[in-house]
Amino acid sequence: MDLSKVRNFGESMSSTRWFILWGLTLLIGAYQQDIHAKDFHPDTIRLAYDDLTFKEKTEFHHTLMKVLEIQTKSTKYSDPKINVLLEKISQHNFSGPDSFIDLFLPSTFANDPTLYCHFGGWMATMDNDENCMLPWSRWVRGDAEMETFGATYEHSCGGANLFRCNPLIFGPGEDGKGICTTTDDSDPNLSTSSCLEDFMQTPDALENKVNELQEDPQALAQYLAITAETMRLCEVRARKFSYCNDLLHLLESTSKAAVTCEAHDSLVSLLPNIVTPFNEDELNEITHGLGAEAIRYARELEERQERISRENREVLEEALAGAAQESTMAATIERIRNNASKCLRGLCKGTEYSSSKPATKSIAKCAAYVKHAIYPYPSESGERYANFSEYPWGRDADDAVEGGNWLKDHGFENILDYPEMSHLTPETAPPGAIIVYEKINSRRNSTVDGVRRGAPGHIEIKASANEYISDFINDEPTRIGGLRRPIAIYYQIPDSYKERLQEVPQ
């Protein structure tokens, strides 16, 4: 690009013209780039590929492999035209690609984002140049996918040219944190080979490792994950990673020895966490088909979870549908509806009201009125949840936001704690609900169930579809345009319904 032309252009533009240019740019906004067939250039493809997310790249690669696999099966390699190509390759000692697939793919696509590399027993990701990243780097340690392979690199050996080998693969070493081996710790090949060598020199290393894995199904599952991914890596990148032969031999033989009939059941439940569309074949190979069984298990488990959740939801919805009609709650609702226009026990002090007040006007005593409805005066008729003597008045009384504390003491439960009912809102909750809100932007907080919530908040009883009652009657949830945030919806669920709830298998 000729910068002098740009400068000359800039100097020739008056201020007005700059403004117009900027304005036009604003009006036009972002523009779209269409790629037409005539623009199908390797550089364009590379740019498009670089723009894909990791998930999209993974899906693209997977689909591409499937297509090539199908193509391979239908290709007649006896075809002279195919053979001519292969002959030319062998004649020129073409040493570029590692595999047949590489021959047909531009270098852009050679970097498989789903491959992991080995670095002294630690799994790591590769950078864009397919260099294995250091296992202690934050990109590797911070990668959530690494959890599949167990602990990440944590304990340094504390010296230059000293490398901590992964204890899951190479044993605990002297201090239990893994062998410290002398090597060039920036080179994955040298580090892994050095770890292998030290491990094989340890007496009874293999036998101890197999026993250890047989006793710890979780560790065995992680070991199998590492083995499967190493098999994938070495299938396509054996030339780059010289440790492949020896390491793979160790991993495969140990895996096959450790997977016993006794371990089947526990492994089947753990393998769904590690099996993927990419390593399923490898896992099946080293576990004698457990990979497929694990997928079946996971599918059946998911179906069972969905069915039980659905049944639980039906039971809870049935329980809530009748909540307002249950005798104690019905009496509570009638009490609070009647009390909304009364001044209870001097609560109107400091206001313009003495014995009665407008039912639609609040006097900032919502928690007091709700409690009074639940713990009525002995002289008041109707069923009650508790005795009035339990009610704390005045400055010692709880804020509305702490309503759950006293409701739980009398058998109420926050229905939002049930995953099947976490979708409920004050608007959709059936009548009979006691709704608790926190006050946002409050200068005062209360700790509720271990969480800091804005006090004093608000509490009200949903008496019907358009009655939300505390010390006043509102025709909608008292969110005050968002200044009150609902944090809990309480109901009393009868035991007869709770007995019908099933535990959702994990």
């Binding site: 006007k361 007091a368 409690k371 006043f472 909608e476 969110r479 968002g482």
Partner: protein, 136 residues
């Protein structure tokens, strides 16, 4: 000469960036003003949607003072106070009151009826009391 042109370029860019920010906040002011102008009379008790509009407008006003917006907020709040005297509604204006106390309160009181002015002060005190003593 070259330095002069470079400085001219930088000044132009700063101006243009500032202008675009101004343009954006001006359009938001207009948005809230138009929304509030559509409310002539408040029905029922107002409702959460109206409360949210007043609250968002007051929040915007707190960071982008606009006299016309302040007037509209005050006018609509007066209409709301005519049908709903609940104390907690004064919290909707809190962002504007806290940030532009003198300016906003002057406009607010000009647009509140005498009765609603008294109500406003009483309700502010009620909010303070609830913060101190709770509502149990």
């Amino acid at each position: 000469m070259k330095t002069q042109n470079f400085l001219k370029f930088i000044l132009m860019m700063v101006f243009l960036m500032g202008f675009s920010h101004h343009t954006l906040s001006s359009s938001l002011d207009q948005h809230y003003i138009e929304k509030l102008q559509q409310i002539k009379v408040v029905k029922g008790n107002g409702g959460n949607d109206l409360y949210a509009l007043i609250r968002e407008s007051a929040q915007h006003l707190s960071v982008n003072w606009n006299e016309k917006l302040a007037i509209e907020i005050s006018r609509v709040f007066n209409e709301l106070s005519n049908v709903n005297e609940n104390y907690f509604l004064v919290e909707l204006l809190a962002p504007a009151v806290e940030k532009h106390k003198d300016k906003f309160k002057k406009i607010l009181f000009k647009n509140l009826s005498k009765k609603n002015r008294v109500l406003y002060e009483k309700n502010v005190e009620m909010v303070r009391k609830e913060e101190r003593e709770g509502n149990g």
